[in-house]
């Protein structure tokens, strides 16, 4: 029983979504449209679980004086600061919640994102070695595309941007397509195992 009802719900929910795509007639349209909204609501509501876990983990760290526990109050205070300003002042532009978000969270996000500029350089330096012919091909195509990306490439030889476009639209498209079609098979098979309850380990408990 512990597992049968959840599996039945999975099956019904999955089938509704599939039928919603193929059958325009009611009740499938109504059911499908509603279910899409419902599951978003349920998944969103779960964020309170995460929030409680975050607080639990950091309070525990402080209580047990685990490694780096002195930084845990920073996380807790940051979390509560957003929560309290959000609840009191709302999310309207110009209010404290928005101010904190714009002046702290946004620039930190942009900074973490921009670390990638450094990491692509170090990864390229280390990984792009002509150690065998396949690696050489990878290196060459990366190199040509890089040249084609900037005006300097066209100045060296005016065919380089065209070579870039060719690499991106022919071999790259072919590769992406193979990955996409293959992965789609994986998605179909995995979804199928979920919907029909063949795979149930995500519920905790294999059988």
């Amino acid at each position: 029983m512990r597992i049968v009802i959840p599996l039945a719900i999975t099956f019904v929910a999955g089938m509704i979504m599939v039928l919603n795509f193929f059958v325009p007639h009611e009740p499938f349209k109504l059911l499908g449209d509603n279910l899409q909204e419902w599951y978003m609501i349920v998944a969103s509501a779960a964020i309170f679980l995460g929030a409680m876990n975050l607080l639990h983990v950091h309070f525990r760290k402080i209580r047990l004086k685990l490694k780096n526990w002195k930084y845990s109050p920073v996380t807790i205070i940051g979390f509560l600061m957003m929560l309290v300003t959000g609840i009191i002042y709302g999310v309207v532009e110009g209010m404290p919640f928005d101010y904190l978000f714009q002046s702290a969270v946004v620039p930190m996000g942009a900074t973490m994102f921009s670390l990638l500029a450094f990491f692509v350089a170090s990864a390229a330096f280390r990984a792009f070695r002509a150690s065998n012919w396949r690696a050489t091909l990878l290196l060459t195509s990366a190199f040509i595309v890089m040249l084609g990306q900037v005006p300097i490439g066209a100045m060296i030889w005016d065919k380089i941007p065209l070579a870039k476009v060719w690499l991106m639209s022919v071999p790259n498209t072919a590769g992406q397509r193979a990955v996409m079609i293959g992965a789609a098979m994986g998605v179909v098979a995995t979804s199928l195992r979920m919907i029909f309850g063949i795979e149930r380990s995500y519920l905790g408990g294999t059988d």
Binding site: E93, F113, S122, M146, A154, L162, Q176
Partner: protein, 287 residues
Amino acid sequence: MAGMIEKMGNLDRRIIFILIALSVIIPLALGLIFPNPVGAEPSRALFDYVEALPAGSSVLLSFDYDPSTMPELQPMAMAMLQHLFRNDVKVVGMALWPMGASLGQDAMSSVGDSLGKVQYEDWCMLGYKTGGGVMIVRLGSGIQAVFPTDKDNVPWSEIPMLAAYSTLQDFDMVLSLSAGDPGIPAWIMMAGDRFGVPIGGGCTAVSAPQFYPYLGTGQLVGLLGGLKGAADYETLVREHPDAVGAEGGRAVAGMAPQSVAHLVIMLLIVMGNVAYFAEKKRKGGVK
């Protein structure tokens, strides 16, 4: 000498980091500008498609990004809006990302003002709604139900231009400026594939390769990839004979540090390979 080459192969990554930082900071500080030629690329395809829209057509422009990808996507928004407004195309804005709505409104009002376009007559911003692809499907059966008001809570019925639109199919094309999920794929799956509305747009350079397959199948009519795509569009918009009052491109200015940093990375790769082969040769003797 040999020792030095070997060291080069195992360069501390922090030296690489410093080189990259310098190659960005110095051209920015000096304000360098390089020319930007545009070939037969997907950015030209998009430009041509938009150029062919007759005056009075309608475009749904979706701002599916947030401030973290502004450097790439905001210049695209500016260039596209200049192009659309110049050709008297009506633009309805919306956003799949919460922060996209105000970024979009800023872009629309600043370009609109410079080209004499009036809010609620030539353009309006519906705002943000959650739901991604699911929400797009609902747009297909009725826009007003999803956006009863615009971003500033002006009711739908009080916005004159919106009377022309009831569903997604009333638009001649959808342009999405997409930083990730939800973005262009959602528009292709839910608006293009389901309702047959032509989809075009711009995206960060990282997601561009993923969208090339959609260009081949015609699911996307054209695409701007990253800062280069933005610079291309700026160039095409400004090269055009009608280009009056087109403002100097931010993307074109950003191309100088791009070029220098690209060169630095390419030099690093070359150095790495030189070191690799030098070491292989040395070890080859021992083998």
